[in-house]
């Protein structure tokens, strides 16, 4: 079946040499950023131990930095930032809704189980 009404979306992503230069610059910037974050995380982990009083702060710093790294990978490397808004929403919104619920329910229950074991034994 010959169809001339189909749009070849795959061609939309082509760009010129100049745009390419800009994109490569952005990729370079994100690489440096991701590496710096990882090095920072390892240094933080090496110097601050889990029995330290500031550990909770460090823990949440780790989680936020991880989400930041993930954001850069998804938005820049996977080009989700360049896609249409509704494609972005279709991928991210159901995922985050489900995961937020699962984290809440699982960790809450785990803490209850943990304290039950601590109180009544195995």
């Amino acid at each position: 079946m010959l169809r001339d009404d189909l749009i070849e979306y795959s061609l939309h992503t082509h760009h010129s040499e100049d745009t390419g230069k800009k994109i490569r610059k952005k990729i370079f910037y994100v690489t440096i950023l991701l590496t710096a974050i990882t090095v920072g995380e390892v240094l933080l982990g090496a110097f601050i131990h889990q029995n330290s009083s500031v550990w909770p702060l460090v823990k949440w710093t780790f989680i936020i930095l991880t989400l930041l790294k993930a954001g850069y990978i998804v938005m820049v490397f996977m080009h989700l930032g360049d896609e249409k808004k509704w494609l972005r929403n279709v991928i991210l919104v159901p995922y985050f809704l489900f995961v937020a619920y699962l984290i809440f329910i699982a960790i809450w229950e785990a803490l209850e189980v943990g304290s039950a074991v601590a109180t009544y034994g195995n």
Binding site: I7, H14, T38, G45, L111
Partner: protein, 397 residues
């Protein structure tokens, strides 16, 4: 249906001409697959979080478990996984550069960057193999069960074993023979099976006790003088037990080992350094969450348990049943999560190789676009993305 070369009017076909996402079918489906795969990994990491929160202080900490570097030994917490993370990030960068080259229809650029990505992928898989091997073989100290029934992991620098000098002949080895090969393996095997003792006197004392206990079990009912013999044996046993207490009071770094042929050898070992015991299972005296036991006391507790001649007091490395790092589930989660991720990396490398061959053959150039490179790129970045989370939740926290 026949092959009608008719031009279909979009209104009759489906009423809308433009895709609301203005993306090709293939790329959209890749995204949907990645969302489902992300949910799988999320499920795994959340179940890890569940188990960890329920186990609380008994759970091992990444920097306690992963502190080795190839060729350098111990004492480098998390450096190796950080290196692995860096390798994967760099391979993600080379992949995105391949995709960018594809958008400019630069065939040579795509090939160059895809090959770089494949090499990075192989490096990562290799690093993971090393990590697994290290995790399975474990440390020199292992996890020890102390006298009060508690279990503790041991950290510190293990003094090197120099040799075993035979002090009591066995089937093959004579007194004075020196064993210099396969030392650590023999030492750990003896520790697991109850073949380490504080001294030769202790070995002989325990052997005599065993013989008397066996003799006491022999049915002597109705025999003349049986009662007197029994009492005599019981006295002897009590005497031996008292003697053992006197012998046992001084555990040391060295001690003796029973070798394969039954000979007893003195262990010549350098002193351990910076020994600490961290309780991972509560006993009657030491509890999970207590401050780590350090210094001389740590060494004394460790070697008292190790050199008791009792099997299964120590666990080295990890398998699916037990591990030296903490609760049983810890090892299982390690194998499943990093294994599942490693399998993704491996299949990613294979897919990259297949697509790279397609690029070299000019398949995509003829097609007019390099969307296949973009799609495999999406998968490859996803693998990197998952590792970012595994790195944080398995190793850092």
């Amino acid at each position: 249906m026949g092959d009608h070369a008719v031009q279909l009017d979009s209104k009759t076909l489906w009423g809308g001409k433009e895709s609301p996402f203005s993306t090709s079918y293939g790329k959209l489906m890749m995204w949907f697959f990645l969302v489902s795969d992300a949910l799988t990994f999320t499920g795994l990491l959340i179940s890890y979080g569940y188990t960890r929160h329920a186990a609380q202080a008994a759970w091992p900490i990444g920097e306690e478990t992963f502190n080795s570097m190839p060729f350098l030994g111990h004492g480098y917490p998390l450096l190796y996984v950080a290196l692995m993370t860096f390798i994967l990030i760099v391979s993600s960068v080379t992949m995105v550069l391949a995709v960018e080259a594809g958008h400019r229809m630069d065939k040579k650029g795509v090939i160059k960057w895809m090959i770089a990505t494949i090499i990075g992928g192989f490096f990562f898989v290799g690093s993971q193999a090393w990590e697994w091997s290290h995790f399975i073989h474990g440390s020199e100290f292992g996890k020890i069960e102390l006298a009060d029934g508690s279990q503790a992991i041991v950290r510190g620098h293990f003094g090197e074993i120099e040799n075993f000098t035979v002090v009591q002949a066995g089937n093959h080895l004579k007194v004075g023979a020196v064993v210099t090969s396969d030392l650590l393996h023999q030492y750990q095997h003896a520790a697991e099976t109850g073949g380490l003792f504080q001294s030769t006197e202790m070995v002989n004392n325990l052997k005599n006790q065993k013989n008397i206990i066996a003799a006491l079990k022999v049915d002597t009912a109705g025999k003349v003088g049986a009662k007197a013999t029994q009492d005599n044996l019981k006295n002897k046993l009590a005497g031996l037990k008292k003697e053992l207490e006197a012998i046992k009071s001084m555990p040391s770094n060295n001690g003796v080992i029973i070798l394969h042929d039954g000979s007893i050898a003195k262990i010549n070992k350098k002193a351990d350094e910076h020994l600490i015991l961290i309780t991972k299972k509560s006993g009657s005296k030491y509890k999970v969450g207590d401050k780590a036991i350090e210094g001389k006391k740590a060494s004394q507790l460790y070697y008292t348990s190790l050199q008791e001649g009792v099997p299964n007091k120590v666990v080295y490395g990890a398998n699916l049943k037990q591990n030296e790092y903490g609760p049983q589930q810890y090892g299982q989660f390690f194998f499943f999560i990093t294994g599942f991720h490693g399998f993704h990396v491996f299949s990613g490398v294979i897919i990259n190789i297949i697509i790279c061959i397609g690029v070299v053959m000019g398949t995509y150039h003829k097609r007019g676009h390099y969307e296949m490179v973009e799609k495999t790129g999406l998968y490859w970045h996803f693998v990197d993305l998952v590792w970012v989370f595994v790195f944080t939740f398995f190793y850092l926290l």
